[in-house]
Amino acid sequence: MRAQLAALLAGLLFGVGLCLAGMTQPRKIIEFLDFAGSWDPSLALVMLGALGVHAPLQALIRRRPAPVLDACFHVPGPRPIDRKLLAGSALFGVGWGLAGFCPGPALVSLPSLQASAWVFVGAMAAGMLLQHVLVSRGGMAA
């Protein structure tokens, strides 16, 4: 139960961070990705703030033998850069540039009842299920 409360708190903090930073406004993302128009550096500042805090803290935290509420850390180990990683990331980038939404901001936007956020999240769930059926289960992995 304590781990679930911790997850709720982390989710809440993450959502407040996204809203505060304006990441729930697709136009800010699209203007960040637009180097030929009026550039919005907000996302770079968001990443600077997040990495400035999380890079040193994660190094400290991972010196512990285990997290506080679990038996071990669930952090992926070093794996090679493969075609699957690059192809998937490339497709994600195209969708991100089309809508100005990535998964976090889209989910946080659901309570605003914006139609585009609901359609985006529904389609994202469909895309995840489709990927599960075609790639993860079908053995098409690169």
């Binding site: 781990a3 409360l5 997850a7 982390a10 993450f14 959502g15 407040v16 961070g17 996204l18 809203c19 304006g22 990441m23 729930t24 406004q25 800010k28 637009d34 919005d40 550096p41 907000s42 968001v46 703030g49 997040a50 805090v53 999380h54 994660q58 935290i61 512990r64 997290p67 509420l69 952090v75 992926p76 794996r79 990683l85 690059l86 998937g88 990331s89 490339a90 980038g93 195209v94 991100w96 540039g97 089309l98 809508a99 939404f101 990535c102 998964p103 889209a106 946080v108 936007s109 309570p111 605003s112 139609a115 985006f120 999240v121 529904g122 994202m124 895309g127 489709l130 990927q131 599960h132």
Partner: protein, 146 residues
């Protein structure tokens, strides 16, 4: 040219909260704050650890609800995208993040923070195809893209 809509202090402060959230989830639960991974695990069959994922997503929704109530301008509908575009984009983001094992949060924040080579490659890739997509939509097709 820098856009007139930038609020640097809010962006930086918001980022700090994202970093704190990722650190909290790692310290307490030993988990990566990657939204596509958390949401995908909640959605797809075969997951054995749904509860913490559901609570994390509930936290996200609760934060959204609080902003709807206190600061609705956080969700500007100005420049909203057509629903067909939203549907196509959502499909690509869902399919792509599962294939590429992460999104802006998992690769762009958590992965970069621990200098994962895979996350550096993923982040450079989605930033590049994202920028190329915006260039095509805004400057080549030059239509209604926000």
């Amino acid at each position: 040219m820098i856009s007139p809509h930038v609020a640097p202090a809010s962006a930086l402060a918001g980022g700090v909260l994202l970093g704190l959230s990722a650190s909290l989830l790692l310290l307490l639960n030993g988990r990566i704050a990657g939204i596509s991974g958390i949401f995908g695990g909640l959605l797809l069959p075969g997951t054995t650890d749904r509860p913490w994922r559901a609570w994390f997503v509930a936290g996200l929704l609760l934060a959204g609800l609080a902003f709807v109530w206190l600061r609705p301008e956080a969700f500007a509908t100005v420049g909203d995208i057509p629903l067909t575009t939203a549907a196509l984009a959502g499909l690509l983001v869902g399919f792509g993040t599962r294939t590429g094992s992460g999104c802006t949060s998992g690769h762009g924040i958590c992965g970069l923070a621990r200098l994962s080579r895979r996350s550096v490659a993923a982040t450079l890739t989605f930033m590049s195809t994202g920028a190329a997509t915006v260039f095509v939509m805004r400057h080549l097709l030059g239509g209604s893209h926000p």
